[in-house]
């Protein structure tokens, strides 16, 4: 393993987690299913943020739950990511987004739901980004398979792994 790899800090995000960092950091989500991963990046300051979103909207959620875990919902995750990135010195006008996940897990058998929670998460994130005028420069969403996402804040690149 090369030295640079050893020196890179790695932060793993579980469901509902959200993190903003800068430089030699890799933000990782393992086994993303119907959840959606939002990656925001300002390349001029190498500041990036990632959220592991479980649900599309915080509107009907308990306020304490939203305040405690803004990363859990698409709308609150976007607001909190942007706020923290701004506070970390990112130029909001330079931020671009990458979006991953929203798969339809359990594709075989009888669906428990008449709606697709993965698709709802994708739509909520895409709409939220559009409303906040953040351009999307990469996405890999939907499908029926899980993904592991590694976001390298050194250059804003993302590596995806699936089965």
């Amino acid at each position: 393993m090369i030295l640079a790899e050893l020196m890179t800090e790695k932060a793993v995000l579980n469901i509902g987690n959200l993190k903003v960092a800068r430089g030699d950091v890799k933000l990782v989500i393992y086994a993303l299913g119907s959840c959606v991963c939002i990656c925001l990046y300002d390349k001029t300051t190498k500041t990036g943020g990632m959220a592991h979103v479980l649900l599309p909207s915080s509107k009907e959620a308990n306020k304490d739950s939203v305040a405690g875990e803004p990363g859990k919902y698409a709308d609150s995750a976007l607001d909190e990511l942007l706020l923290r990135m701004k506070n970390s010195g990112a130029d909001v006008g330079n931020i671009k987004a990458k979006v991953f996940g929203g798969a339809r897990m359990f594709a075989m058998g009888t669906p428990l739901l008449d709606y697709d929670i993965g698709r709802m998460n994708i739509d909520a994130v895409m709409t939220g980004l559009s409303e906040r005028a953040i351009p999307i420069d990469e996405s890999d969403v939907g499908g029926t398979f899980a993904r592991t996402v590694v976001f390298d804040l050194n250059d804003g690149s993302v590596t995806i792994k699936h089965r």
């Binding site: 579980n14 469901i15 509902g16 393992y30 086994a31 993303l32 299913g33 119907s34 959840c35 479980l54 649900l55 798969a103 897990m105 359990f106 594709a107 075989m108 058998g109 009888t110 669906p111 428990l112 739901l113 929670i117 998460n121 398979f145 899980a146 592991t148 792994k161 699936h162 089965r163």
Partner: protein, 212 residues
């Protein structure tokens, strides 16, 4: 009164009670599986853990491990979801015994006959469990038809949380180790788990029924 499940800690009496009926359920399931497969099925005493969305770390399973997930919702007395996570090879071996086909990998899921075999297997496991649980706590529990997925186990476990929008505090895992021996003496082991996602009210109901 201490919360029955609090910050990954489970009330000791509640844990013992779940372990006890878990033991009975696993016993019943092994008998049913053995009958269906015409094979010897061995079991080990179950382990019980409580956790949140990171329950897999508690159990010690790598989130990226490819496993088979069988998901059903529970209705009537206990509400929530129940997810069986089973070793892929165990399911392949069981399906091979049932269909008499040479099943090698995940492609078997595209074959109707094999998928039907998997559903039968899951039905036996789920029905045995629910029958025992229902008898033990003297409550009726209905299971919905199942959904099946083969993928990274972390993604399989997160789905019921989104589907049910449940509190993360109520995740109970009952470890169930089965070993299957076919007619040629080939042994296939499963270190699978039954992960139960009961809603808040159901945890209280379950505890009450167990005398806690």
């Amino acid at each position: 009164m201490m919360k029955l499940i609090n910050d990954k800690q489970i009330d000791p009496d509640f844990k013992d009670a779940i372990k006890e009926f878990g033991n009975i359920c696993v016993g019943r399931t092994s008998v049913a599986l053995g009958k269906m497969l015409g094979s010897r099925v061995y079991i080990e005493p179950p382990t019980v853990r409580a956790g949140d969305t990171d329950i897999l770390a508690e159990i010690g399973i790598n989130k990226e491990k490819i496993m088979v997930g069988i998901l059903m919702s529970m209705e009537e007395s206990i509400e929530g979801a129940m997810l069986f996570i089973v070793e892929k090879q165990f399911v392949i071996d069981a399906a091979r015994i049932m269909t008499k086909k040479d099943i090698k990998d995940l492609t078997f899921m595209e074959d109707e006959e094999s998928l039907s075999a998997i559903k039968d297997l899951a039905n036996i496991m789920a029905a045995s469990y629910m029958k025992e649980i229902g008898d033990y706590i003297k409550m009726r529990i209905f299971l919905s038809p199942m959904m099946v997925g083969v993928d990274m186990v972390g993604a399989l476990v997160s789905f019921p949380l989104a589907y049910l929008e449940l509190s993360r505090k109520n995740v109970i895992s009952i470890g169930a180790s089965f070993a299957l021996v076919d007619e040629n003496g080939h042994k296939s082991e499963d270190t699978g788990h039954i992960i139960v996602f009961p809603d808040e009210e159901s945890v209280t109901k379950l505890a009450k029924a167990l005398g806690i």
